[in-house]
Amino acid sequence: MLDDKLLIWQFNRGRVEALHRIYEKYKHDLVTLAASLLTDLALAEDIVHDVFIGFVQSSGKFQLTGSLKGYLATCVANAARNCNKAERRRRHVTLDDVDPPGPGANNPVSQVVLDEDFRRLSRALDQLPYEQREVLVLRVYAGMTFAAIAAQQDVSLYTVQGRYRYALDKIRSLMMQTEPRTVRLFPEVSA
């Protein structure tokens, strides 16, 4: 989009407000993406923070070849994958482990923690093999094509499509098992 191209052009000229605007534009999507991959909100925010701070270093030489959102999503996914392999074992604080806030709390993070829908989704995603979860999340939240995901995962297009299908089936099955609300959400399956 023209907007993103202009922001990147300004960013490459060292205009700090451009990077702030890029963050504001995509922050919610990226946090959702990272949290879905890691099912760990604190880690997810760390990842998004690190991606943007790292992005600063590319000022002056960054070249946008696809969509900016896709690029940032790939950065987040790569960082999340690395994190998943190592740090997550050391610092396993899931959404379920975070204490709910007290009355009057206005911290968006706390509000998110209270979000039953995401908690439910997070539990389901956490039971998927990481590669399947990554495909599903990149496809749904970052809007990436299967081809782009295949390149990101360094596997064939066929493999990615298979992972996506398995992930969808598994999520549907998991959410059907335990949550009454999903029955309403997926009437065709329950019928």
Binding site: M1, L2, D3, L6, W9, Q10, N12, R13, G14, V16, L19, H20, Y23, K27, H28, D29, L30, V31, T32, A35, S36, L41, A44, E45, V48, H49, F52, I53, V56, Q57, S59, G60, K61, N107, P108, V109, Q111, V112, D115, D117, F118, L121, L136, R139, V140, Y141, L168, I171, R172, M175, T182, L185, F186, E188, V189
Partner: protein, 390 residues
């Protein structure tokens, strides 16, 4: 609805928000990181800033680039007919130079374009901007001058631009030829005084063109021509013949004191893709994400000052600014040419950029069986007549 779509819809409905804490961390982190790499950034920034400062007035040239297509293709008419000299056309056909003004749309408010024509060369100026164009139709080259910044840009204009411009000059000749050859298509409009001159008027109305021509009653030379096309009218006035023209005025050499800004841009052809890009620029840059209420050369001309302001505000480098202007203009060149090769309809009023269901523009060339339909998200489809928007 498919179950898998329900899963993805459900996921999309579950969105997190970045916390205020993260906002603070990222914003302050960005500032610190940029400050830390200030020296590195300076290396990147300084040449660019210097370049921008030197060339920022070129946004005026970019704005002019946007209207070039409109200005030069406005006269794309093929009247046909062979010269059969009548008293009124003799000075026209024998003239070596023409000087005239033309206005597209509202004569009182529209941009007045002043042409000095000598053979294949034209010097063109505008009432609402200082930029000067010099076109050489033989070589297909255009020189654009910005007197304020003393900047010059050259550009290729082979193709519809050259042909359209050539037709504009030929228009004056063909009009009177038409009158002489087909008197049955000419209606006498009587007498009228124009700028203190007593004139006689004729209305020419045939399948190719509808226009009125007013000629000096005493000298039998045209002084005003009104060309009607769709909902718009183009007026040619202050027409003079055989006016002495200094060669330097119509030279495509860069004048002394001007700096040539090199570009590889061309306005040689106008494609559907150019037009789609024009729509995007108009909606995104000029109209807060919505498509304009009306689409015409006249409407576009009115946007030119705003377009120049917007470009200036973006602080784009010269090349990108000119490119944006050229893109904008090429799209409307497509529209102008299409007006003579087919039919088109505009339905963008009230449509927001990104609306994939709303048809914004549809057209077909000649007797094509299907229409090309451009939607609000700017994707294009071939659509049968019975599926067109009502």
């Amino acid at each position: 609805m498919r179950p898998d779509k329900n899963v993805t819809d459900y996921m999309k409905s579950v969105k997190l928000k970045a916390s205020a804490k993260l906002d603070n961390r990222v914003h302050s982190g960005i500032d610190r990181a940029l400050a830390g790499s200030q020296q590195t950034l300076k290396v990147h920034m300084e040449p660019n800033r210097r370049r921008i400062l030197m060339k920022s007035p070129i946004t005026r040239i970019a704005a002019v680039a946007a209207v070039i297509a409109i200005a030069v293709t406005a006269g794309t008419l093929m009247l046909g007919g062979k010269p059969a000299f009548a008293k009124v056309i003799k000075p026209i056909l024998q003239a070596r130079t023409f000087v005239f003004d033309f206005v597209i749309g509202d004569e009182a408010k529209g941009t007045v374009i002043h042409d000095v024509v000598a053979g294949p060369r034209i010097r063109r100026t505008f009432s609402n901007m200082p930029t000067v164009l010099v076109l050489d139709l033989d070589s297909g080259k255009m020189l654009t001058l910005d007197p304020g910044s003393k900047t010059a840009v050259t550009m290729g204009i082979q193709g519809p631009l050259v042909e359209g411009t050539r037709s504009l000059m030929k228009l004056v000749q063909d009009i009177v030829t038409q009158i002489a050859d087909h008197p049955d298509q000419v209606q006498d409009l009587g007498r009228r005084e124009i700028d203190g001159v007593s004139t006689v008027g004729f209305l020419v109305n045939n399948p190719n063109v509808k226009l009125s021509i007013w000629a000096d009653a005493a000298k039998a030379t045209p002084v005003r021509i009104e060309l009607y096309e769709r909902q718009s009218v183009t007026v040619l006035k202050n027409i003079e013949f055989d006016v002495p023209v200094d060669d330097s005025l119509i030279s495509t050499d860069v004048p002394a004191g001007y700096t040539l800004q090199k570009t590889d841009l061309s306005m040689g052809d106008f494609t559907e893709r150019d037009f789609v890009e024009s729509l995007r620029i108009w909606a995104q840059l000029l109209n807060n994400g919505a498509f304009p209420d009306t689409l015409s050369g006249e409407a576009m001309m009115k946007e030119v000052p705003q377009f120049a302001d917007k470009l200036r505000g973006l602080n784009l480098p010269a090349e990108e600014g000119v490119k944006l202007g050229v893109n904008f203009g090429k799209g409307f060149g497509f529209l102008e040419v299409l007006g003579h090769q087919g039919e088109w309809h505009y339905g963008g009023k009230g449509v927001t950029l990104g609306d994939a269901k709303a048809a914004v523009f549809w057209y077909r060339r000649g007797d094509a069986k299907t229409y090309r339909v451009i939607y609000g998200d700017l994707h294009v489809e071939d659509v049968d007549l019975d599926r067109l928007p009502k």
